[in-house]
């Protein structure tokens, strides 16, 4: 049985943890929360320099030949510190979309720049409240022109390009848009987590090109989200672990009624529950990392399980972390808010828990039928 990271992966993790402890303390996250910059430029540059954006990319496109399990290791560490950088949009979404598309020309154009950390990319799906379905996509693609509005696009304000799901005469299709060209209006929007920037993108006959085959957009999106869900889950897992550690450390330091508050069962049992949720999430995440790295047929079930478990664990840990900190934890000056905000953001970026529970059971039904 060998169901754990390898020694090399553990070294990568330790290195990433030390690096981020040094380069991404809470003050960096707070800088983005309170400042005007959409992300931390220094950290983004450093992450690229470390080669993290190139982790799982093929060497032919400037990748460094590690695999998806290694990318999961990086994701967990970025999640621990709520890194305020456009990593998930660029690496988990845009790069993965290009890889899935099979479009070699665009892969050659964009992937090396992503590997080098030179550009930001994103994926644009949502158009309004509630889940998008195959039938209600309003954004239209025809004659290489794109028209419509996409909301809550991660890093849409700073990305160079976006992969967009649009309706076409052949059905839902992916298209690739250069966001720096004409016909594109971008408007930064406020969200629950200002440490990660988002935008509304309005396309008014913007130049675009098809990606991944006409009418394939819906299935490609499902595949993309299965893959991205695993990487998001590792960020969530890292966040949940960090939130638990904050709460645990505070419970040992803080005294009330003459004793450390961690000696009260109301607190210590809640911390035990956090640990249990986190460990179950971790185990589901490991399985999903294995499925992602081996392209296993279990990926849809494993990805949904990891996402549901990690979303729940992070939500619980981040809210109870504030509760255990008491009034001080709810102040702007305290750092508890970073996890409370980020847990909700990551829990919604790929669609909410109800959608993913439904996907999980769909995969389970197929498995049970097989």
């Amino acid at each position: 049985m060998n169901f754990d990271f390898s020694e090399e992966q553990k070294e990568l993790r330790d290195h990433a943890r030390r690096y981020l402890k040094d380069r991404c303390p809470w003050t960096v996250v707070r800088g983005v929360l309170e400042g005007a910059a959409p992300y931390s430029g220094d950290l983004w540059a450093g992450v690229a320099e470390n080669g993290w954006t190139a982790t799982a990319l093929p060497e032919a496109y400037g990748g460094i030949g590690l695999g998806y399990v290694d990318l999961c290791v990086i994701a967990e560490e970025l999640g621990r510190v709520t890194a305020p950088i456009p990593f998930s949009s660029t690496v988990y979404l845009a790069a993965e979309a290009l890889l899935l598309s099979g479009d070699e020309a665009n892969q050659s154009d964009y992937l090396p720049k992503i590997a080098a950390g030179e550009i930001i990319g994103t994926f644009a799906l949502a158009e309004g409240a509630g889940a998008l379905t195959m039938d209600n996509i309003q954004t239209q693609f025809a004659n290489n022109r794109l028209t419509g509005t996409k909301i809550a696009v991660p890093d849409g304000d700073t990305a160079t390009f976006a992969v967009v799901l649009a309706q076409s005469s052949r059905g839902p299709s992916w298209v690739l848009v250069d966001l720096t060209k004409g016909g594109v209006t971008r408007e930064a929007v406020k969200t629950v987590d200002p440490t990660r920037s988002h935008a509304k993108l309005t396309f008014d006959g913007a130049q675009a090109e098809p990606l991944g085959g006409p009418g394939k957009g819906w299935e490609l999106t499902q595949c993309l989200f299965d893959r991205a869900a695993v990487l998001f889950a590792f960020e969530q897992l890292g966040g949940a672990t960090s939130a638990m550690e904050m709460a645990r450390n505070y419970a040992i330091e803080r005294y009330a009624f003459g004793r450390a508050i961690g000696s009260f069962q109301a607190i210590k049992h809640r911390l035990a529950d956090m640990f249990v949720k986190n460990e179950l999430a971790r185990s589901n995440c490991y399985f999903a990392a294995w499925a992602l790295s081996t392209n296993a047929p279990e990926l849809p079930l494993a990805a949904a399980s990891a996402r549901v478990a990690a979303s729940d664990a992070y939500h619980f840990a981040s809210k109870e972390n504030i509760q255990i900190h008491g009034g001080m934890g709810f102040t702007w000056e305290a750092d508890c808010q970073f996890h409370y905000r980020r847990s909700r953001l990551l829990g919604l970026n790929l669609g909410g828990a109800p959608e993913w529970k439904d996907r999980l059971v769909t995969a389970l039904e197929k498995g049970a039928a097989a």
């Binding site: 799906l125 949502a126 309004g128 409240a129 509630g130 889940a131 998008l132 379905t133 039938d135 209600n136 909301i151 809550a152 929007v189 406020k190 969200t191 629950v192 987590d193 988002h198 330091e253 803080r254 005294y255 009330a256 009624f257 003459g258 004793r259 450390a260 009260f264 109301a266 607190i267 939500h315 809210k319 504030i322 509760q323 008491g326 009034g327 001080m328 934890g329 709810f330 102040t331 702007w332 000056e333 305290a334 508890c336 808010q337 409370y340 909700r344 953001l345 829990g347 919604l348 970026n349 790929l350 669609g351 909410g352 828990a353 109800p354 959608e355 529970k357």
Partner: protein, 406 residues
């Protein structure tokens, strides 16, 4: 079993209704479920005017004894509040006075009472309550702010926190530690003092929700005459309990959004092309929150019935706050889940934004005015008579307690 007023209540309600119909509209603002930010000076001025008008009509602090301008009736106070809630009136900055007043009534001299009670009632002076400290929240008796006697003046040093309206208050009630070598609950002494004294510094605390209703108050060599001590030296804890007893009277109203707002949202959204309200998972959650909301509402009716029959209510306020605060957090997060990827957006219509705002406000609701954990202790100990937690802090000198040096 019915929901009707008894004849006295009905008569009083009619009187209140007609008085409010005449006077309230002038002060009523456009209502909103959600208060997004602090308030301006116009609001304060309007609130003072409204409070004075109420005081003249005998509606200011109805639960106070008649001799101090109240009507000595908890039930009438509730009836009035129910009717007043139908108007969106300027914010009540005088709530601390309502608790501080009875403390003065019990412990102050006649001269002090006639100096302070009338302007308190009329909202001419705003009061604040300097109890909690960074190191003493749930465990209030763990406060460390020092008071040292020099001649007939106490010199006070320390830091208080979670003080509502401190930035605008003229007067304060204050609990201090006069002797750290005594056991925890025995070394406390209670005062009132002028917030405009030298050495008082007030900072507003910004919260995660964006609000800044609370303040930090730093006390540096603040001098308080011994004549402003309430209760004996060393009796501070029991004076505190007098104040807190009056505070507990306020049973929390239901927070919004709630099950009904989710029904509205789910009717509007679609899942797989069908109205989300047809989705069984959403229906189950709505049902579960509805029994809490309805249960809370009718629990309040039971409390009012007890008041109406002249009985003392039990731990109902603790129950209501406990379930309402967590429900707010859960409903907020769930509404965001239903909105999907758009759930993260802040600057949208209030119908959608209310869930995110609830999510951001809820952690405060679960802490302020008694944490979930303290409320469960209260219910377990006061209602079910279960043993208290093991106390290690009752007998040792305060300055020998673990953690007290921090």
């Amino acid at each position: 079993m019915d929901f009707n007023d008894n004849p006295q209540e009905a008569a009083f309600r009619a009187e209140v209704k007609s008085w409010l119909a005449k006077h309230a509209p002038k002060f009523a603002q456009k209502g909103s479920n959600v208060r997004r930010e602090g308030e301006g000076e116009e609001d304060v001025a309007a609130a003072k005017e409204w409070q004075a008008l109420k005081a003249d009509a005998g509606y200011a602090f109805i639960q106070w004894p008649k001799e101090y301008g109240g009507r000595g009736s908890a039930m009438q106070s509730v009836v009035y509040a129910q009717e007043e809630a139908k108007y969106s009136l300027p914010r009540n900055y005088f709530i601390i006075g309502a608790f501080a007043g009875p403390t003065l009534m019990s412990y102050a001299t006649d001269e002090q009472k006639s100096r302070f009670i009338p302007p308190m009632l009329r909202g001419e002076e705003v009061w604040c309550q300097l109890f909690s400290e960074p190191g003493a929240g749930s465990d209030l008796a763990g406060i460390r702010t020092r008071a040292e006697l020099e001649g007939d003046t106490w010199v006070v040093n320390g830091q208080k926190v979670w003080t509502s309206f401190a930035y605008m208050a003229e007067w304060a009630i204050l609990v201090t530690r006069h002797d750290p070598t005594l056991p925890k609950h025995m070394g406390l002494t209670y005062f009132y003092f002028d917030m405009r004294s030298p050495g008082v510094e007030v900072t507003r605390i910004k919260q995660v929700s964006g609000g800044s209703d609370f303040c930090e108050v730093f006390l540096n060599d603040v001098r308080i005459p011994d004549s402003q001590r309430l209760g004996r030296v060393g009796d501070g804890w029991s004076v505190c309990l007098t104040t807190l007893m009056n505070e507990r009277f306020n049973a929390g109203d239901a927070y919004r959004p709630d099950a009904n707002e989710l029904v509205t949202l789910a009717k509007r959204l679609k899942i797989d092309g069908k109205p989300a309200i047809q989705n069984a998972a959403i229906r189950e959650r709505i049902a579960e929150w509805h029994i809490q909301s309805a249960g809370a509402k009718f629990t309040k009716f039971r409390t009012l019935t007890a008041l109406s029959r002249g009985q003392t209510p039990g731990a109902e306020a603790s129950i209501l706050k406990l379930i309402n605060a967590s429900k707010l957090q859960d409903v907020g997060a769930f509404g965001m889940d239903l909105l999907g990827m758009a759930g993260i957006l802040t600057d949208v219509d209030e119908e959608d934004a209310q869930f995110l705002l609830a999510y951001m406000a809820a952690p405060g609701a679960r802490i302020a005015g008694g944490t979930d954990e303290i409320l469960r202790n209260i219910i377990a100990e006061r209602v079910l008579s279960l043993p208290s937690d093991i106390r290690v802090d009752k007998e040792l000198p305060f300055n020998k307690l673990a953690g007290s040096a921090k």
